[in-house]
Symmetry: C2
Subunit: 193 residues, 2 copies
């Protein structure tokens, strides 16, 4: 009997480095973690690759996915839909593979409600100042965008207490190890579902 | 601010090897785990050392400890008291040191009731046959004692589902690592106590 994989949500403010630590954890886990790829209706950018950064859908396609219960969670941002396709996640879990969803607080709360066995992990910056430094260090945003992201971060950090685990991303090596520790401990936990 | 240590109960049938894996986990943790030493009213055996294997108490002393709320849990076996002195445990926890109590199911349930933040881990054998092999392999018990221990083990295994985590002691190296993984994950968990 294969034990089902763990569904882990990873959220955290823009600039905190969650993408980096998730990627590192997946590399270390050598195929034992499936990183979910979101579907979106936003236009692809030059850097995007279908099925790698996102699955690109038309609004009609996305609405049909919602109607047919083919997304685990979804949300609308600035006129575009973003969501998690259900099938790849459920296939991986049933094979005993852990799944990470890197999603926003709103989606995380939908997962918490629909999957009581899901584990919610919040990646927090060591401090507000450090988050600001990292956002500026990326050099990809205007001053206005940085201030807007910091304001969004305040709101996200205020909902941190709805998560099961907090990983402070002080050093990416340790933080990626922390994600793996949580997944390992979940496998030892008794599940009564 | 020092985060409080985790109180971890480790139970499991005689012969499963819980003493060995707890000892190995403590060695690996290099002083970051305090292994609680029980108090007892039974007579010391030649192998015993005061304050190392047990704290040896008279019945009057033990009863006074119970009355003054100086034991975290206690039980009576074949006319003798066994219990966990409260003070060393609380001192270690307040310094952020994790504490392991290697105690029986009955005591574990008292801890669960009195310390909602405690983590209960059950060490299980890979199979009933393997447990029997290990008991015989110790060569310290008569056939009658072995059968009696196996019967007790059935009762203990039937209460396994009251524990938070199950560590199957297949290989001691992995099993001791599992104990450490649980303690690490607990540090990342949000506590609302």
């Amino acid at each position: 009997m294969t034990k089902k994989g763990t569904l882990m949500v990873v959220s955290g403010p823009a600039g905190v480095g969650k993408g980096t630590i998730v990627k590192l954890a997946c590399e270390k886990a050598k195929g034992n973690i499936h990183l979910s790829i979101s579907a979106t209706t936003r236009n692809p950018r030059p850097i995007d690759k279908e099925g790698v950064t996102y699955y690109f859908k038309t609004k009609e396609e996305f609405q049909s996915m919602i109607e047919h219960n083919e997304v685990l969670e979804w949300a609308e941002y600035v006129g575009n839909y973003y969501g998690t396709p259900r099938k790849p996640v459920e296939e991986a879990l049933s094979k005993g593979v852990d799944v990470i969803l890197e999603i926003e607080v709103q989606g995380a709360m939908q997962i918490k409600k629909n999957f009581p066995g899901a584990v919610l992990t919040f990646v927090a910056p060591p401090s507000r100042e450090e988050l600001e430094n990292r956002l500026r260090g990326r050099g990809t945003e205007t001053e206005e965008q940085i201030l807007s992201r910091l304001k969004t971060a305040e709101g996200e950090l205020s909902r941190m207490n709805e998560y099961d685990y907090i990983v402070v991303n002080d050093q990416i090596e340790q933080a990626s190890e922390d994600l793996l520790t949580i997944l390992r401990a979940e496998k030892l936990k008794q599940k009564f579902e």
